[in-house]
Amino acid sequence: MEVTLLIQATDDSFRILEDARKQAKGLLDSASILEDARRQAKGLLDSTVGVTSETRQMEKQKIQAIFKGAQEAKSSFQNFIATFFLLFVFWVLLSGKFDLFHLTMGVICSVVIAHLTHDLLLANVRVGETRVIVRRFITYIPWLIYQIILSNIHVAYLALSPRMPIDPHVLRFSTKLESDISWVTLANSITLTPGTITMDIKDGEFFVHALDKKVADDLHAGEMEDRVAHIFMEADHIYIQDALDVARIYVALRKWG
Amino acid sequence: MSTFFLAIGLGLCILVFFVLYRVVFGPGVFNRIAAISAIGTKTLIILLIMGFVYGRVEMFVDISLVYALLNFIGVLAVSKFLEMEKEL
């Protein structure tokens, strides 16, 4: 009963969000407003994340899973099998010998290691979302590489410029992310992007060392956190952010048009 | 191409000597650890390049993987030790 109610509620909120988006787009197309406001509103609208049918489906499944208690970790036997296959593939790639003797040895070694460590490698895997997470993670990597290249050019510029314009800041912010993998992704991405290092994590607060004020402000804007939340399906605050964005565009259009 | 690899390896060796300044004179133990970790990453590349120069990459690639691994574990262990020493 509660499940259907909750699904209905989320569905309604998604529909409202989509309607608002559509309306804002229509207004944008029809209204004859000032050029720069138009451009600004268009940019804002493009930057908001649309609610795809995929996310809607995932959200539905998540709610159902929570209510059925299926959110618990997989059984240790499933973990063991998955770890075994991962390790065996790794062995074959390392070994490069495909005769019976070496493959048998690979099976034995993989079984032993999988028995020892099946509670380590796949400790906190959530049910049913792995494929989407992997796909989104792979699409995240090119952006990260682009950021790494930017950050290296930044460091090179700072190291080679004679006056060295640095102005270090230490900033702290708390995050809304939930699982440990997403924390690791966020922290390592912060370390790899221009001008920032994760120094410490204490009680859910990130302590970040930033090289100048501008970088610190960029980090506070929280684009990266939203991206990481999007990957690991912990995206409830993305939707709030979207609704706020759409509302802002709406208000701006009403004011100008 | 072998000459090019030799030149790259030589350049990395020179860079290692520059970083060695931080290891020897760098004030405080933390500067030294950071510099040692930087030397470790350069050594990894030098090992691979040696493999290419001698024509035995499939051997040297294992060595450099082990080197990267031990470098990582070493840095973690030393930083853990320094943290603990403060608590005692």
Binding site: V155, T191, F207, H209 | V19, F30
Partner: protein, 109 residues
């Protein structure tokens, strides 16, 4: 071995050497420990990745190249973690970050 692959790997390795050089200059020039970590943590990561990709391209399509890619993945995972571990230890021990306007000394522990 096509000449295109050789040229591509040469470009990658020269880029790696360039970023190694700037990271080294950064280690030598930056004023305090945390700013030096910016140089080692980021500069070395990209430089190692570039050099490894260049070597893998030169090696061609084989299991050895795959192992080089394994090293690259491992470094991309391990280097930021090691940076984080060192900086956390330094912060816990009480090394103060250098702020603008202070004298350039680092009589850290």
């Amino acid at each position: 071995m096509t000449s295109g692959a050789v040229i591509l790997s040469t470009i990658f390795m020269l880029g790696g050497i360039f970023f190694f050089t700037t990271a080294t200059i950064g280690i030598l020039r930056f004023p305090d420990f945390f700013t030096r970590l910016h140089a080692t943590g980021k500069g070395d990561t990209l430089a190692v990745l570039l050099c490894l990709i260049g070597l893998a391209i030169y090696e061609g399509f084989s299991l050895t190249a795959l192992k080089i890619v394994f090293i690259a993945v491992f470094m991309a995972l391990a280097q930021p973690t090691a940076t984080h571990a060192i900086s956390k230890a330094a912060l816990r021990v009480g090394v103060q970050p250098w702020m603008k306007g202070e004298k350039e000394d680092d009589s850290s522990i």
